[in-house]
Symmetry: C2
Subunit: 340 residues, 2 copies
Amino acid sequence: MTKTLNKQWQLASRPSGEPTADNFRLVEAPVPELKDGEVLVRHHFMSLDPYMRGRMNDGKSYAQPQALDAVMGGGTAGEVVASKSAAFAVGDKVVGMGGWQEYSVVDAAQPGMLRKVDTKHIPLSAYLGTVGMPGVTAWYGLNKIIAPKAGETVVVSAASGAVGTVVGQLAKAKGCRAVGLAGGPEKCRVVVEEFGFDECIDYKQHPDLKSLSAALKAACPKGIDGYFENVGGMTLDAVLQRMNAFGRIAMCGMISGYNGEPIPMTQPQLILVSRLLLQGFIVSEHMEVWPQALKEIGGLVATGKLKYRESIAEGIESAPQAFLGLLKGKNFGKQLVKLV
Amino acid sequence: MTKTLNKQWQLASRPSGEPTADNFRLVEAPVPELKDGEVLVRHHFMSLDPYMRGRMNDGKSYAQPQALDAVMGGGTAGEVVASKSAAFAVGDKVVGMGGWQEYSVVDAAQPGMLRKVDTKHIPLSAYLGTVGMPGVTAWYGLNKIIAPKAGETVVVSAASGAVGTVVGQLAKAKGCRAVGLAGGPEKCRVVVEEFGFDECIDYKQHPDLKSLSAALKAACPKGIDGYFENVGGMTLDAVLQRMNAFGRIAMCGMISGYNGEPIPMTQPQLILVSRLLLQGFIVSEHMEVWPQALKEIGGLVATGKLKYRESIAEGIESAPQAFLGLLKGKNFGKQLVKLV
């Protein structure tokens, strides 16, 4: 019997500044024999996420840096194609952290490595997006940090992304005014028309602080009570000028600084003047909320009350370009690579 | 009967940049006749506080700006010298918000305007400092925002001030390592020897970020878990580099920006990287904690367990110069003006 070959993307080098395709290397390796307790998963979808950019650096960050010459880490959704574990059967649909490759071998005994999912009511790919890490990220930041009351105004940057679309829809469900920031008229149109945000500001039309701050003032006539931060930099400066007293800011990402550019906060005194709360968080450190969050989000998705979009690249070869596009905001909604 | 004359300091003009003595005007007015329900208080001590600098500006801030040509507002401690209220008798020792003047007439019916205090176990002046607003400020930021556990490291800037001295002592009482930042070797010596901090860094010896960050690293070998912020600017930048994961920062003051200088936070991404919580607060908005805080602090002061220092200027005429000195860090502990 010929061995199955497994195409894998490794990190070949660390970027200095903006990453390029040259930072990645495609290799091919035979799928190893399964040992007792192990499961072979064929990945149908790979997840691409902004946090992976941070892991490409070697500096101090919350996550361990991605090791050089090792397979890029990341979330995956697929099907069990061989099993030496009583816990998983061939044909089971599963999500895990298989990384940028076509197959992964998983030790099923290790808790949390692999999770069976129901694909009757929810498509498999959604478990990497709205019903997965990005969705729980939105849920956590909104419910546990911003904790908005009905009638309050919630702003979210990267509003058309996998996290942002969920933040706005959950805020609307709580009776809040939801205002997004996204790049380009088409994204803004869909954020409002499809995802139900009250307004969406095209940040590309506002290249300076004064202009962006004025746009926020117009879109948020009662000020801003909660802000879900995905980008940092000038956007954060502009939002800070419009925050109401006792406002809450969930710091989830600062993509504008991922390539090492300085992204100073120009008026931190506003934290004091407006008695704000800012809190950074990483959803993987709050596993205790995942069951509740996934139950709520899964129910909303299964009944069509929570919408999502996916940007799907085809084939393992497309992963680096799709990832670099994600970092430039070329995606709409969850960025995936479809392998099967 | 000749009328009693009351010397008062008014705000004559708003400062552009650093305030000067010319921004204040000394006037003299007769003490008005008391109406029913009113009390005449002769001030023994006037409080001078950094927040008053913010109120001299006309811009957006948490407090209403100080009105021009009106008596400067502020805390006072004194004695009732005439009363048309059943609630106060001549001879009562009281604290209130009498402002920069020798006497004030208070409507005793308005709740919270005037409070009788016990001067048997606690000196009258302490009610403007450790057993008053600055002490409760320290208590709130430490207990309600930083909430340190025994063994954690707490850093406080302006450590020799009315608030900072209390923060460090309360942190030590909780079993924390307390590290102060103060200006000059003498202040640092007293912060350690008299107030019991583990270390105190003389920020004047560290004029750049790298040097101050290194000094913090040396003084906080296990990193920083809680930071009580009174100054802002480069100090905050340096502390952010040393914060441990899940650290908490109570934002109480940012005196380095009070004259309008830019005080950018250069690496706000550290809030995310280290999953920090930053919270601005103003103690007068949390009156619900005052009884508990004052009871705890008062007990510690009365039994000699909580120490304090006062910088006392003599006579109403000295108020502006004492205030300008406070803004330059010339005080040690609570800055007062003694009137009687």
